[in-house]
C-alpha cells in the first residue's frame, strides 16, 4: 500500500509545532518516530493533510532532576533500553521496551509518540502507568503536567487538546525498597501483546512486608489502565511468604494460590476484555490471573533482592 498524499513541515521547536498544529486544525498530525503513524498511513487508516515533523524540535538526553527521571518526548526506544539512567531509575521501563517492535522500530520510535498513540496493548503505556509516570504537555496556553493515567482516553485516543504536544515524560525515580516486574503474552516475539502486565511492589520497614503495590495492564480494555487500588488493598501489610508459590508443571498450572493469586483473580474478575481475532475475553482474563500473580511475586522478589 502507498500512503495518501500529504504536506510536510519540519518544526524547529515544540512551540513552533504547537502553533502549526493549531493552524492546521483537524488536518494536521504530529510525526515523531513514525513507527505507528506511518504504518497507519501506508494502510490508509489515517488521512492527515499535513504532517508536522518534530524530530528536529528537541535533542535533549534523559536526565534526573531531584527525584524525577525526565525523559524528553523524543527519547528513542533504543535509548530507553540501553541508557544508564533509565536502567537505574526505571528498570521496569528499560525491561518492558525489550518487548517493543524490532531493532528498526526501537531505533526510531519515541516514548512521547508511543504514549500519544495510546495503543491499548502498549508495553510502554503499561509500564509508564505502573511506574507512576506523568507527561508534560505544551500547548498554545502554556505547559501543564498530568498523570499518564489521565492521558489515555480510549482506543488510540487521548485527552490531549487539539494543539497540545507531549514534551517530556516524568518518572519518579525507583525507590530503594521498590521492586518491578513486566510480563506479557504474545503470539510471536515482537508482536503486539495479547495481555501485558507491569507490577511494582514496595516493601515496608520490615523488609519482608509489603507496604504498597501498583499493577498496570494492557490488552484488557480500550486503553492501558491501572488496577483499582481496592483490588490490591489485600496485599498491604502482607508478608512476602504469603504471596504463594510459583506455578509448577503438574500443579494448578496458573499459580493461583496465595495472596498474589487472590489479588490477580480479583483483578481478572473486575475486567471486561473484548473477544477478538487474537484471543477470547475468557483467555485474556486467564492471562491476567496468571501474569499478575507471576508479576507480583517477581516484583516482591526483586524488591527483597534490592533491600538485601
Amino acid at each position: 500500500m502507498v500512503a495518501p498524499a500529504f504536506e510536510y513541515v519540519a518544526a524547529g521547536s515544540y512551540d513552533e509545532a504547537a502553533r502549526l498544529l493549531a493552524d492546521g486544525g483537524d488536518e494536521a498530525k504530529i510525526l515523531a518516530g513514525g513507527q505507528s503513524l506511518m504504518p497507519m498511513l501506508n494502510l490508509r487508516f489515517s488521512h492527515p493533510g499535513l504532517l508536522i515533523d518534530i524530530n528536529a524540535a528537541d535533542d535533549r538526553e534523559p536526565f534526573v532532576t531531584g527525584s524525577v527521571l525526565r525523559l524528553p518526548a523524543l527519547t528513542r526506544h533504543r535509548v530507553l533500553l540501553e541508557h544508564d539512567l533509565v536502567r537505574r531509575h526505571c528498570p521496569l521501563l528499560a525491561g518492558a521496551v525489550r518487548h517493543v517492535g524490532n531493532v528498526r522500530v526501537r531505533n526510531r520510535g519515541t516514548i512521547g509518540g508511543s504514549l500519544a498513540h495510546a495503543d491499548p496493548t502498549s508495553e510502554i503505556g503499561c509500564s509508564a502507568l505502573a511506574a507512576g509516570a506523568q507527561v508534560a504537555v505544551r500547548g498554545p496556553g502554556g505547559e501543564r503536567t498530568m498523570p499518564v493515567a489521565d492521558l489515555f482516553l480510549s482506543y488510540w485516543s487521548t485527552t490531549l487538546a487539539e494543539s497540545e504536544i507531549i514534551t517530556d515524560v516524568l518518572i519518579p525515580v525507583a525507590g530503594p525498597r521498590q521492586g518491578w516486574s513486566f510480563h506479557e503474552m504474545v503470539r510471536r516475539t515482537s508482536d503486539f501483546a495479547i495481555v501485558a502486565v507491569a507490577a511494582m511492589v514496595e516493601l515496608g520497614e520490615e523488609a519482608d512486608t509489603i507496604a504498597a503495590t501498583r499493577v498496570a495492564l494492557a490488552g484488557v480494555a480500550d486503553r492501558a489502565l491501572l488496577a483499582g487500588p481496592g483490588l490490591l488493598g489485600g496485599l498491604t501489610g502482607v508478608n512476602g511468604s504469603m504471596l504463594g508459590g510459583v506455578a509448577r508443571a503438574g500443579g494448578t498450572g496458573d499459580g493461583a494460590g496465595g495472596a498474589a493469586g487472590a489479588a490477580a483473580a480479583a483483578i481478572a474478575d473486575s475486567l471486561e476484555p473484548v473477544d477478538d481475532v487474537h484471543a477470547s475475553a475468557d483467555y485474556r482474563r486467564r492471562l491476567v490471573r496468571v501474569l499478575v500473580a507471576r508479576a507480583l511475586r517477581e516484583a516482591y522478589a526483586d524488591a527483597a533482592g534490592r533491600v538485601g
Binding site: 500500500m1 502507498v2 500512503a3 495518501p4 498524499a5 500529504f6 504536506e7 510536510y8 519540519a10 510525526l31 513514525g34 513507527q35 506511518m38 504504518p39 498511513l41 501506508n42 494502510l43 504532517l51 515533523d53 524530530n55 517492535g101 524490532n102 531493532v103 528498526r104 522500530v105 531505533n107 526510531r108 516475539t189 515482537s190
Partner: protein, 165 residues
C-alpha cells in the same frame, strides 16, 4: 502536492531527486535510484526487507519519509561492497553457509546483523536471534542465517579492528 528537490547521500554519493512529501525513503531508493536491494515487503515495519542504515542505524525504509533522510548518510546493502562489487565478508559468510535462498530478505538480514556485530562484538546466538526477529525469511528456516552471522562474528572478534577480510 508539490515536489521538492532533495539531495540524498546514498552509499557515499549524492543524488539529486525530486520527491513528494509523502514519498517514503523506500520509494525513492527503489523506484527513483533503482536500488533493487531495498525492497517493499509489508509496509508496516514488520518484515525487514526495506532495511537501510540511516547514519549507521538500521531503520525501516517504508516508515521513513524521503525528506527525513536529507543531510544524512543512507547505506544499502550495495554500499557495503568493495571496489568492483567484491563481496562484503558477511555476504561471503552467507554464501558459504547457504544462508540465502530466494534472497529477498538477505539485504535486511545482513545490514541488521552487521549493526549488531559492530555494536556487540561477539553476540550470543540468542542475541543474534533477538536482533533478527524483525527480519522475516520464508526460505531458510533461519538456522543457516544464524550460522553465517556467528561465523562472521567469530572472525570479526579475531580481527584487531573488528573487520574481517
Amino acid at each position: 502536492m508539490t515536489r521538492r528537490r532533495l539531495v540524498l547521500s546514498v552509499n557515499g554519493s549524492d543524488h539529486e531527486v525530486w520527491v513528494l512529501p509523502s514519498d517514503t525513503l523506500l520509494d525513492v531508493l527503489h523506484d527513483e535510484l533503482g536500488l533493487a536491494d531495498v525492497r517493499y515487503g509489508c509496509g508496516e515495519g514488520v518484515c525487514g526487507t526495506c532495511t537501510v542504515l540511516l547514519d549507521g542505524e538500521p531503520v525501516n525504509g517504508c516508515l521513513t519519509l524521503a525528506v527525513q533522510a536529507a543531510g544524512r548518510q543512507v547505506t544499502t546493502l550495495r554500499g557495503l561492497m568493495g571496489p568492483g562489487e567484491t563481496l562484503h565478508p558477511l555476504q561471503a559468510c552467507f554464501l558459504r553457509r547457504g544462508a540465502s535462498q530466494c534472497g529477498f530478505c538477505t539485504p535486511g538480514m545482513i545490514l541488521t546483523a552487521l549493526d549488531l556485530v559492530r555494536r556487540r562484538g561477539r553476540p550470543s546466538r540468542e542475541e543474534i536471534k533477538y536482533a533478527l526477529v524483525g527480519n522475516l525469511c520464508r526460505c531458510t528456516g533461519y538456522t543457516k542465517i544464524l550460522d553465517a552471522v556467528e561465523e562472521y562474528a567469530d572472525r570479526a572478534a579475531d580481527t584487531p579492528d573488528g573487520v574481517p577480510s
